[in-house]
Amino acid sequence: MPDTQKAELNEKKLNQMKLEILRLEQSNLKTREKTADAMIDAIKKIVVDEAKKSY
């Protein structure tokens, strides 16, 4: 990713997304409740919701 684009990203939001995604994966690995498509939707929601937040 070019540095100019990277500079626009908020590190706090980015780290929060990473942790939430890993938590979600860890949980689903135990229970397999969500299908692959459901996981994709859930992760996309984490990214969109977190990106919209204002800290």
Binding site: M1, L14, M17, L19, L22, E25, L29, A51
Partner: protein, 660 residues
Amino acid sequence: MLLKSLRLHNFRQYKGDQSISFSCDKEKNVTVILGDNTFGKTTLLQAFNWCFYESAQLPNSEFLLNFDVAAELPEGRSSDVEVEIQLIHSGLDYILTRSQEYIKKNGTIHPLQAKIRVSYKCADGQTENIKENKIENVINTILPQDLSSYFFFDTERVGAISNRKDLAESVKGLLGLSILDNAIKHIGMKSIKRTVVGQLYGSMDMDGDQRATEALDHIQDAQARREVISTQLETNQSELNYYDGRKEQLDTILRENQTTSTLQNKKETIERQVFQEITAQAGITKALLADFSSSYMHFFSQPLLKRAGDFLHEVKVDDKGIKDLTKATLEDIVKRGKCICGCELVEGSEALAHIRAEMQYVPPESIGNVVRHYKSGISSFGSSSDRVFQSIQTRYQELYRAKTRIQEWNDEVEDISDRIKGKETMKKFEDELVDVKNRLKDLNIKKERLIREDEAKKNDVDRYQKIYDGLVAVSGKNKSTMIYIRYAEAVSDWLVSTYKEKESYIRGDLEEKVNGIFERMYHGHRRVAIDSKYQVTLLTTISDKEIESGESEGLNRVKNFAFIAGLVALAKERIVSCAGEQEFDLSSEPYPLVMDAPFSNADETHTSNISKVLPEVAEQVIMFVMQKDWRYAEPVIAGKIGAHYHLEKHSEQFSELKGA
């Protein structure tokens, strides 16, 4: 994973309901079940395999129903076999129950479809059932089937785990990398539509702009092709690495065995010389025997004749008398009255007196004449005997020299044979080297072609990306979506780099741990190596070089124990991934070791070492042990025992588990 209990219902010789509660105590973490051969130890181990994976390595394994129960089953009625395992995994309590119904029809008992139920207890205490189509995945997450033979370890069938399977994925999953791997797959990339990034790109508002759509299609196609190329390059590189390594090995073998080849040639030359010498020796022996057969008289009489000659020389009786003249001849002359010289032989004449005097020196009055004749004969016979003796002596000396030469050559051949013993002929390695060089050439050509194609596709992506960005960046919605994409791609980059970092750490650390444990268990000088497929080999050092060493069954067992122990030791470690200042625990969790006859074929020292090490590295040890092995293990392991059972065999169809 920690095993809490095992319940068996009519499973083989375990008639009725029988159960074991395993020790989950951290200090006293060993559960021991004692039982002799045929008491049902292996059946217990296989009960785990059947419950987890519907697979049991038992004779006649399709019929699991207890024989007594089967014999008493009325026509048209059915009976169940059931195995239930309670365990803790990732902080959740799971119950796995597998059952198989058997029905008697027309006097024959038929198995029906086996069923499996898996449930877990939620944080709020409620029990949730895992959906049927997810059960296999959940079980494989708890313990991958590929690795089950290491954790449900049937020591006497150790060969089953030595097949060359690629265990990399299973090991990584077991050690906590599956979380990262799954997240990487789900976030995905632009070229894969069913991923987060793919969907975000797809949701961009194209505003009817055909050119943007086309540009995106080009980008996705080029990216997809680059993915394929990347995979092909990885495979290609892996093959290149393999064949490079093999070429180096072959070069080394051939270089090191150049001496062997020279020695082999020398040995063959000497063997040819020995053959020629033996043939020549046979010819000489034949000639010697022929000489001896025809002239043995000369040979044996020569010393006697010499003695006779010497004697006759000393007595000097051969100096008077005319040769071949006898008394009878002279008497005939006297009788005739006239000598051959013409003198009249009358009484009183001087001539007659001379003849009568001569009669005293000729046979039979004197042997001097005969002796002179005999001496002449000896002389001629003697020179012939000398020639025979000389010839036999010469041939004998030749034979002796030949025999000495053959002995020396044979000694040399034996010495060379010892030096090259066990070294294979080099021809097959030379042929393989040619083949490997050809493969390397082809692979390098393919690699260059793929790199060129990838470069071209990358240029396509960059070119179309510029077009696409210019076209879609106009709308506000697209601007937001592009931000989401950047976040998603940044998360993806981070996941990929974290995965690579952790992955490279795991194998090195595992090898270090396995070697540490192996050194504690094995009282010799060898090292364990773990390859990229997580296969384990033993190395020994000879002349500063490490070579793969042979493995006895006992040593193979110690090696496998060390690998398992290393795996469980690593699984216990904390693996953390950092997101900014916050940490995320990727750690796996403790794993149990369930072992059938772990000390079988191990000597007293190994039994003692294994007993000491395993409870230290594993969170939980469950072992089915024969009484005879237990006497060596018990003194070392006694302080670690948290649960103790023994098997009581009532009949071939009925064994009972009894708590000690």
